[in-house]
């Protein structure tokens, strides 16, 4: 230590630009904040929010029926068109599908999340985590493609039903109105299955996170007090997992609401909101109506998020 001379109380800054710049930024933390925040905020603010507002603005314009050009005058006529019977059907159909998909996702996700949170330990914990993460992150299109293979007439599902001598059951199901159809891959049942498959993993992790915060002895206390498993579930487990379920449902609901590829590839010819937006902006060239359609999921998700926030669901994200 003797090799080091005793320093002065205040040392000069490092020579060169970095030393001076460092001092300057230290003295002006607001400049530093602006440098840090500037690029991302400009990018998101201009490119993303700008586009979004421009789009929403267009929903207040209308399309000229004769020329097919946009008439840049403020009007609510596009919204009137949005609520016409045919379009309203699309909205109701999409919301119903999103709700059913969400409910079934929760039903399938809950046992997985519960097992992972309470019983999986050590290596199994990692297996469960990856077992959830890999399907969640793996390719969206390939997952849809996999279901095309499964649902095809000559595919594995028909084969399995045939092996079990249950083909009559499949046919009976397909004969049902609305949810049936010529084959599974052109029926609502098919669309529903793919939706659940693709979005359900998003439900598992929030539920697991919520359940992991429940002390294990709470559940034991309930059974010690003589609660049946059903009572324990209803009065202890379910209320505590609810914020997680709501948080997960934000994903399943929103993602189903806006999807247009799944119903296009697996499903009937009746449209969902996403397909309507796609058709309006593309072939129909009616940007105002397409914009008005996008307002529907935005408003629904806004309400949903507001409700979820009031239920404390964000803590489970």
């Amino acid at each position: 230590m003797s090799a080091l001379a005793t320093p002065a109380a205040i040392t000069p800054n490092r020579p060169g630009l970095t030393g001076r710049l460092s001092d300057f930024l230290w003295k002006h933390p607001h400049v530093l904040l602006a440098i840090l925040l500037g690029p991302p905020v400009l990018w998101l603010g201009i490119i993303y929010l700008g586009s979004l507002f421009a789009l929403l603005l267009q929903s207040f314009f209308s399309i000229d029926d004769f020329s097919g050009l946009i008439n840049y005058e403020f009007t609510l006529s596009t919204y009137k068109q949005l609520l016409s019977d045919a379009n309203f059907d699309i909205i109701v159909r999409t919301i119903t599908m999103a709700a059913v998909v969400t409910i079934f996702s929760a039903l399938i996700a809950f046992p997985i999340a519960y097992y992972a949170a309470r019983y999986a330990k050590g290596k199994w914990k990692a297996v469960f985590y990856l077992g959830i993460m890999l399907p969640l992150w793996s390719s969206y299109l390939v997952k849809i493609y996999a279901w095309k293979l499964i649902l095809a007439k000559e595919g594995i599902l028909t084969w399995a039903f045939a092996k079990l001598h249950l083909l009559w059951l499949l046919d009976a199901w397909l004969a049902l109105p609305i949810i049936g159809g010529n084959s599974l891959s052109v029926s609502y049942t098919g669309t529903f299955l793919v939706f659940v498959y693709v979005w359900m993993p998003f439900m598992i992790l929030p539920i697991q996170a919520a359940l992991e915060r429940v002390p294990g002895n709470l559940i034991e206390a309930s059974s010690d007090l003589g609660g049946t498993p059903q009572q324990t579930f209803r009065h202890v487990l379910f209320p505590l997992a609810l914020p997680g379920i709501v948080a997960g449902s934000i994903f399943t609901f929103s993602l189903t609401l806006g999807d247009y590829i799944i119903p296009q590839i697996v499903g009937s010819s009746r449209l969902f909101i996403g397909q309507a937006v796609y058709a309006q902006q593309g072939t129909a060239g009616n940007i105002p109506l397409a914009a008005a359609f996008t307002v529907v999921p935005i408003v629904i998700m806004g309400l949903y998020l507001w409700m979820a926030k009031r239920m404390g669901a964000f803590d489970a994200l």
């Binding site: 230590m1 090799a3 080091l4 005793t6 320093p7 002065a8 109380a9 205040i10 040392t11 000069p12 800054n13 460092s22 001092d23 230290w26 003295k27």
Partner: protein, 332 residues
């Protein structure tokens, strides 16, 4: 001789919170200086003003005669031992200790040697290759000390460094810190809320409350002659007599302090002051008996040597003490 640290009317306000309010302070070079006060009294903020993590909202700070306002922490020869130690988790112990020398551009061999010496100084020789996560709390604390001292700072700041240690370790570290400071001759500024620690280690103590210094003096001053009721209460050593009681003794004052061991029960000589009272409680504390006496509504604690007889609860007694032991206070 220039002061190591000089505060002239220094304030640090956070909005309406006056964390440090118009503080004047002069810490001499080579001194072991303690800042004592309850939680939230502004000790840490004072320390951060010295280190450069906070800038004063008013007043003037000097370190060894040089103006410190506007000088970033990395340009002050002042080092800190943080309350949570703040060791770098991704570096080995040796690299932690050598960090200050590394960023100053000192060569690898030289800083390695210096860091090993510093580790030996804090009694952790050969620990260099471990990671912070592999050390106990007491060992991490020593590493934090070595990491600061290896830079030969002109002032070493310690923010409640012993707070997280258990009692035995704490007493051992108190002695080691004291002797380190003596042998190195570096100015130590030590923050604590433990009056025993401050009294036993420091050359001088500043007692803080509400962002202000209540009293600044040697441990003996603080202990024997608390100047305000707050100091008397906080250091916990003295009775504070109200102005009414002072008047009955024939001493006009707003308040006065009186140490329990300066009071005798029963006998009184002519030159002594005396007060009548009733014993309300007593307890045996080994070398002394602690007796509570009610004197016309004012509770006075007496520390009576164990050899003396102890009056029963409810007994009427006379308290006697010398005028010299009664210290008048400026405020009530």
């Amino acid at each position: 001789m220039t002061a190591a640290v000089l505060f002239e009317n220094v304030s640090r306000h956070f909005g309406a919170v006056k964390a440090v309010d118009a503080v004047d302070l002069e810490i001499a070079a080579g001194e072991f200086f303690a800042m004592l006060g309850p939680s939230g009294s502004g000790k840490t903020t004072c320390l951060r003003l010295m280190a450069g993590f906070e800038q004063p909202t008013g007043g003037h700070i000097e370190i060894f005669g040089e103006t410190a306002e506007g000088v970033p922490p990395y340009r002050r020869s002042v080092n800190t031992v943080f309350q949570d130690y703040a060791l770098f988790p991704h570096l080995s112990i040796l690299d932690n200790v050598a960090y200050g020398l590394m960023v100053k551009g000192i060569g690898k061999d030289e800083r390695r040697k210096a860091a090993e010496d510093a580790l030996a100084m804090v009694k952790l020789p050969g620990y260099g290759q471990r990671r912070p996560g592999q050390l106990s709390g007491g060992q991490r604390q020593r590493v934090a000390l070595a990491r600061a001292l290896v830079n030969k700072p002109k002032v070493l700041l310690l923010d409640e460094p012993l707070g997280a240690l258990d009692l035995k370790l704490r007493e051992q570290m108190q002695e080691e810190l004291k002797s380190l400071q003596k042998s190195l001759g570096i100015t130590f500024v030590f923050v604590t809320h433990d009056q025993g620690e401050a009294l036993s280690m420091a050359d001088r103590i500043a007692v803080f409350n509400d962002g202000k210094i209540q009293q600044l003096g040697t441990p003996e001053d603080i202990y024997k002659r608390p100047q305000t009721r707050f100091v008397a209460d906080f250091v916990g050593s003295s009775n504070v007599l109200s102005s009414a009681t002072c008047a009955r003794l024939g001493v006009p004052a707003k308040a006065a302090s009186l140490r329990p061991e300066a009071i005798a029960i029963g006998t009184s000589w002519a030159e002594q002051l005396s007060l009548p009272g009733t014993v309300t409680a007593r307890s045996f504390l080994g070398a002394t008996n602690r007796v509570s006496v009610d004197c016309a509504g004012e509770k006075i604690i007496v520390a009576s040597p164990a050899a003396m007889p102890v009056p029963d609860i409810g007994a009427e007694v006379q308290l006697a003490f010398s005028r010299n032991d009664l210290h008048l206070m400026e405020e009530a």
